[in-house]
Every structure is written in structure tokens, then in C-alpha cells.
Amino acid sequence: MRCNDAAGPLLPAAAPGTSLVDVAPAWLCAAHTRLASPGPHPVPETGLTLRGDIGGRHFEAHPTVRGDGSVAWWLVDDTGHQLAREALRRERERSAFLAKASNVLLASLNLGRCMDGTAHMAAENLADAALVIAPARGQRLPVVTCVRGGAPATTTVTVDLDEVPGLAEALRGFPPVPSRWIDPATAPGWMTPERFGPVGSIVITPLPGHGVPAGALILLRATETAAFSDEEEAFARLFAARAGAAMSAARLYAEQSTVSDMLMRELLPPDLHQISGVDFAGGYRPSADHERIGGDFYDVHPATVEGAGALVSLGDVCGKGLEAAVLTGKIRNTLHALLPLADDHQRMLSLLNTALLSSHHTRFATMVLASAVRRGSAVDLKLTSGGHPSPLIVRADGTVEEADTHGTLIGAIPNVSATTTTASLAPGESCVLYTDGITEAKGGPMGDDLFGDERLKRALAGCAGMPAEGIVEHVQMLAAQWLGNRPHDDMAVVVISAPRTHHLSAVNGHTRGRFTA
């Protein structure tokens, strides 16, 4: 063999006369033998370049068969190229993983689901098993564990944080520490998932949230898997940053929604049911579908003294949305405080008027008050409207009567006046209180008609004898169908009914009545 100057340093043993087998690596010798052997050569596959390692570097080998039958091998060093290609592949994989991680983590604002997603993705891509720990109050830690190929499982462990080196710091987020290795032999039992086998390496990585600690990620590898490289550890931190941000957002959302739920609970319309032998049912639909409260309201208060009527109030604060809802809360509280006067509607409205005028709100309201008391099988009603659409009474024969009560709206002028009317409901008859959101619903098949009083009365004529919640649902459904997808105001309906037959108290879910064994 012969070699040029460049080949000298590469194959130091190569000298003229030596055999190729003694100086070149096996892959090159084999290729040479194939090429130099007599007889039909296997056709080399086009585009397939011969590659191999020589002395720790990577080469492409291109043969040229010369006229005298000898073969010249051109060796091209492509070590850098190979490394770059390998790095590119790894980076692509990682950015695809991070993109997927962001997708999964951004999808949910639920802390549990974020922890599940984090543990699952970490176990599939970074380690053989992963634990996600949320910061806890006290010593009970919520932990989601996921083994590669398995589903995430949630547990709560009671743990002394200082028992695990690095865990307390990671969960506190202070002092800021990078990932920390711990000796698998010292790891507490809860850290190793069941049937995982011997643990080879464990690394604890803090999950940094939006400026606050969001928890810790623990990655485990089995003994047969290689330990974490520095690069892998750095990558795990990139993932941890995303997971931490998502968990932190979920935690903030949960805290906020707990607060708003708590505040809203007082503003939500109550669930109505039977009180002292009178059926009550109510339905509410705020103007915006994403909201649960608005400017309409209703309440039913049981009588404060024996023999008096339950007080129903239904009203409409001018405006909609949260701001109007806050005022409905004030009105409802004020009415509640005025309950001892429930028998004197006009006095109640007048006191409420004064209260509203003296508050900083510039809004006013319309409302109707109804006292309902059972007398025998009938229900006696007292109805007073303060600038509100008159209640409608549905008789057993389908006649619909408008209650004769009128008055000024509340919270606008210093002196209010209203007339009170009385009525009696026979069994199966109902009194319907509603807000103008129903009658002013704009839509219908042609798209621009108001639902209107007449349509409401016509619909109610068909509701004779129906249970109270059936009437509420029927009215709500007709209004909703009339509207289609068009915008609308808040809508509220309350129905007071004299029970049709001997009433069954077991079915309102509050008492078991006579069916209790």
C-alpha cells in the first residue's frame, strides 16, 4: 500500500508495503476487500456513502478504482458535521417536547390536572419516573407520581421536609438552588413508586412559578439507565420553568375563583322549594352567558311569625352585570332586615326607597312584593308592585289575570307610593312574577319582534294546573327559543302555586316526610 502525507498522522502504522489489514480499521478493510476481490462486484447502492470511525474521529470514505486495478481511498473527516447533525436532532426533539409541554400545560387552569400533565410528560421524556409535589401548608404534601408507560396517580404524603436534602429549599423557592442530586440510598420510601425496582439516580428540581415557588419536580432513573448528564439536567430545568409557571397560574386561578365564588354565593338567586304548604319555583338567566349574576333578583323568606305569609320579592335593578348585581345584594339584605314589617308592603318599599336614595348608587330598581299564606287548600296572596310589571295569575280554567297593583319605582324620588291588591289561588292555580327581560326579549322567527305581554299571557293560559317549576321552565324555554342567539337582558321568573293535590313533602329533597321508614 501507499499513502500520502495527510494519511500518515491518521494511520500512523501505515507505511509502504504494510498490509491494509494491519493499519486500517475493520470497516475500511472490509469495504476494500469487497471492491478489490475479483468477480462480479455487488453493485454499490447509490447515494450510500461509506462511513466509519478512525482514531476517535468520524470519516467518509470514497473509493476510486484506478487503471492498474489498485484502489485509492479518499478519506474525508466529517466529525464536526456529524456532531452538528446529532445536536440538531436532539434540539429539534427538545423543542418539539417543550412545545407539546406548553400545549398541555397551558390547556388547564386546574392545579391537579397541571400536576398530572407535568408528571406524565416528565416520566415519558426526562426520566423513568417523576414525582410532582405542590407546596403545602404543614407537613402534608400533595404528590403526583407517574412511572414511564403508566398513568399519573395522586397521593398525599406526610413528611418531614428536612428529612430530604434539597426538598425544603425547592418547595420554598429560597434560597434559590439549582437541581440537587440526592443519594438514592437516603431517599424516603414514598419517593420510590411501587414496583419501580432499584433507583439509580434521583434529582430534585424546583418548579419556579410567577415569582413564587410552585412546587418541586423529582426525577428518578432506574439503575440500568444512565445517570443524568449536565445537559439533561439543564434541559429538565427548562421544562420545570414551564411546568412551574402553569402550576402557579392554576393555583392563582383557584384562589381567585374561591374568593369570587364566596362573594358571589350571596348574590346568586336562591333555590326555591315548598314553604308552609305553598309551592315556590324560580328561574334566572343573566344577560351574559359567562356570568351567573346580574341586575335581576328574587328571594323567598319564610314568615317570621306564625300564620303570616312567606314574603316573595322579585325585582330588577337598572343596568346589568356585576355592578347591578352588587346593588341587588344590598336590596336583598335591606329587605331581609325589614322582614318584621313584611305584612306592610308599602312601608317596606318606602323604607327601602329611603335606604337606596341615601346610598352612593345612582341606580334605581323596580320590584314586586308578594306575601303568600296557605289557608285550607287555597293560597292567599297580597301583591304590591313598585314600578314593576304586574304579576299574572293563572286560573285553573286557563284564564290569565293581571294583578291590579301599581306603584312608583324605587330609589329615584323621595316619596314612593304603591297600591296593594289581594288574590286567592285555588289548588293548581299559580301567580307568576317576572322581569321585563322576558317580555322585552327581542327575536322570534322574523328576528325583530318583542316577546311581549300578550305572548306571555297566551303561553301561561296553557299552563293551568302545572307544577310551579314546570311553569318556570316553560316560560324560560319560550323566551330562550324566542331569542335564539340574540343578546338579551337579565331574565327572572318566580311562580307561587297552590299545590294541586295533597302535597308530597318527600320530593323537595329537604324532608323525607311520611315515607321515612
Partner: protein, 364 residues
């Protein structure tokens, strides 16, 4: 998508007899008798799930049939349903229905605009009996509420109910929204068509024909967590032609045009009272709504089934269905630039002519 078609339990004569008695009580608005009947069955050791599904659900099915056959009014239908609801509530608080939570958590809801809440209520009760922790959100749940609920709870799955086909576009939005926050969706109800054929095109993770099958399916194995990179527009590529959007958006003006044209074609209609005119307009709006839904799913059969059913209901109410073909023709004229809409309307007309000739043949 997973579907379940578990065989129904053999109908016992006992259940049939109980259903008959319950129907008698419900149809006469005697809720006292209705609840007493059902509670006594439970006291006597009847299986609560069987009471819910083989007795109450059967009675509710009959309520719908009786309405379609014009034997009861819409208001009576509501009254019967309200009593059934109360009866279900009574079952749920009976000691026989007390079950410990042994499984995960399921959210049960009706699609926004869906007022038939009882099927979902029955499913919720059955799932409770099978040991699930159930959040029942009730009838017509706006999608934003459903999503807020899913963020606040860690539901393993959502069971979504819809009975009216025109709610399917809304159901699609709800399904996609649930999946986008990582929760799989099981759908059910008549809206999803024969054998649940619309469940898959709308991207649902599973479909079940009834509450019992739904409970079996959920018990079998947990529904897989949906992929979060799913694009809603990939489900129904035909929506790119904008026909659904245009037809659903111009519904009111289509109704107005067709109504005017009908009055020109049928002078007798000019003598209609306002109420009759409004009823006709409502019928037209309904046709347009079903047309839009058929466009959404690109399924002619959805429209033809509705047209055939409408013709039957009209006949049951003593109204001649003769105004339907001209209405469809006039709509087709308004929508002649829309190839899919035209095709669907033509098949509607075809359904009516064949149904009509069959009916005529029968009476001859």
C-alpha cells in the same frame, strides 16, 4: 372514539306494569301517587337503577311520544316532566340509593339551549349509584360555565347530553372546549342521530345509546385524555364553503322572504290570523335551523328525517302537510347559489313526495 351498545336487560313484566301505573299518575298530574308508587317499589327492594331506567325513563319516553301524537299539549308535557323530575329527586334521597363514592369524578351536563334535562338527570343518578362522584350541572349549560367548572374540579370525563339535533353545532363547540382543557367527552341523546352517527364527526371521545350503556362504558376503562393540539376546523372541512354560516346568519330574512312568497302563492294564507302567521313563521324558522344543522354536519339524512317527522306531527295535529313542499321550493330558490343547501332541500322534497305517495297508497 369508543361506543357502547350493551344489550338492554330483559324487560321484566313487573317494570312494564310499574311504568304503566306511573304513567297513569304522571299523565293526570298526580305527583303524590307518582312518588308514592316509586318509593314503595324501592321499599319493596326494587333496584334503584332499574326504577330509574326501566320505569321512570320509560314513562318519560312515552311523554314525548304522546306529545308527538298530539295526545298531550306542550304544557302537559312540561307538567309531566316536572313530576318525573320530582320523582327522580325522591328516588335519589331514598336509603336504597345511598352509595359510597368508589370511582372517579364525572361532570354531567346538557348542551346550551337543551331544555330536556331529564335524560342527563337520570344518567347522573345512575352514575352516582355506580359509585362515581357526580357534578350534575343541569339543563342548558352555557359552555363558559361548563369550562369554568372543569377548571375548578378535576373531572375524569364530561357526559354531555343533547336531544335536539339543532343543538349539535353548539355541542361541537362544547366538546372541543372540554377537550381543550384536557377532559374527554362522552356524548349521548337523540341529537347524535341513529347509532350516534354524529358523535364521531363532532370529535366526541365516546358515545352511548342510553344511561345504562354510558355507565357500563365509563366503568370499563377510563376515557383517554384528549390531545390538546386538536383543531376544531379539521373535524368538518366542508364548513370552509361558508354555507352553514350564511344560512344560519340570514335565518330571519330567509323566513321573511319565504313567508311573503308563500302568501303570494297561497292567497288563502292572507286570511291567516297573526297567531297562525306566527306559527307558520316558526315552522319556517325551524326548517331553516335544521337545514343549517344539516349543512354543519354535511348530512342530508338529518334534514330528511326532520322533514318526515314534521309531516307526521302536522298530520297528527290535523294540519295538512301540503305547505311543506312549496316552502322547501321557495327556500331552494332563495338559496340557489349554495350547492350543498340546494341538494339537501331537494332531498327534503323527495322525502315528502315519496312519503306522500305511500300515505296516499295506504288510504286508497
Amino acid at each position: 372514539m369508543r361506543t357502547s351498545t350493551s344489550p338492554r336487560l330483559p324487560h321484566s313484566e313487573h317494570a312494564e306494569e310499574s311504568a304503566r301505573l306511573l304513567w297513569n299518575a304522571v299523565s293526570t298530574s298526580d305527583e303524590h301517587a307518582a312518588a308514592e308508587l316509586v318509593l314503595r317499589m324501592l321499599d319493596d327492594g326494587a333496584d334503584p337503577e332499574s326504577v330509574l331506567l326501566d320505569v321512570i325513563a320509560r314513562v318519560q319516553g312515552r311523554v314525548g311520544e304522546e306529545w308527538a301524537a298530539n295526545r298531550i299539549s306542550v304544557a302537559q308535557e312540561h307538567a309531566a316532566t316536572a313530576i318525573n323530575e320530582r320523582v327522580v329527586a325522591a328516588v335519589s334521597v331514598h336509603p336504597a340509593a345511598r352509595t359510597a363514592v368508589t370511582r372517579g369524578r364525572i361532570t354531567v351536563a346538557c348542551v346550551d339551549g337543551e331544555w330536556h334535562g331529564l335524560p342527563a338527570r337520570l344518567l347522573a343518578e345512575v352514575l352516582k349509584l355506580r359509585g362515581w362522584r357526580v357534578d350534575h350541572l343541569g339543563a342548558q349549560v352555557p359552555t363558559p360555565h361548563l369550562i369554568v367548572h372543569l377548571h375548578n374540579t378535576r373531572a375524569d370525563a364530561v357526559a354531555l347530553s343533547s336531544s335536539i339535533a339543532t343543538r349539535l353545532p353548539t355541542a361541537h363547540a362544547a366538546i372541543t372546549a372540554c377537550q381543550a382543557v384536557g377532559v374527554p367527552v362522552l356524548v349521548g341523546g337523540a341529537a347524535f342521530g341513529p347509532e350516534g352517527r354524529y358523535a364521531e364527526p363532532l370529535g366526541a371521545d365516546a358515545w352511548a345509546p342510553d344511561a345504562r350503556a354510558a355507565a357500563d362504558l365509563l366503568a370499563e376503562e377510563p376515557l383517554a385524555r384528549p390531545e390538546t393540539d386538536h383543531q376544531q376546523s379539521d373535524d368538518l372541512p366542508h364548513l370552509a364553503d361558508q354555507e352553514f354560516t350564511v344560512v344560519s346568519r340570514s335565518s330571519a330574512s330567509l323566513v321573511r322572504h319565504v313567508l311573503t312568497a308563500l302568501e303570494d302563492a297561497f292567497p288563502s294564507m292572507r286570511a291567516y290570523s297573526d297567531l297562525q302567521r306566527e306559527r307558520t313563521a316558526e315552522d319556517l324558522a325551524h326548517i331553516v335551523e335544521f337545514l343549517a344543522t344539516a349543512l354543519y354536519l354535511d348530512d342530508e339524512a338529518l334534514f330528511t328525517r326532520f322533514i318526515a317527522w314534521t309531516a307526521e306531527v302536522l298530520v297528527a295535529r290535523g294540519v295538512p302537510a301540503s305547505s311543506l313542499p312549496p316552502a322547501l321550493d321557495l327556500l331552494a330558490r332563495e338559496l340557489m347559489d349554495f350547492p350543498r343547501a340546494s341538494r339537501i332541500l331537494r332531498s327534503g322534497t323527495h322525502t315528502l313526495t315519496t312519503a306522500h305517495s305511500t300515505a296516499a297508497g295506504n288510504t286508497a
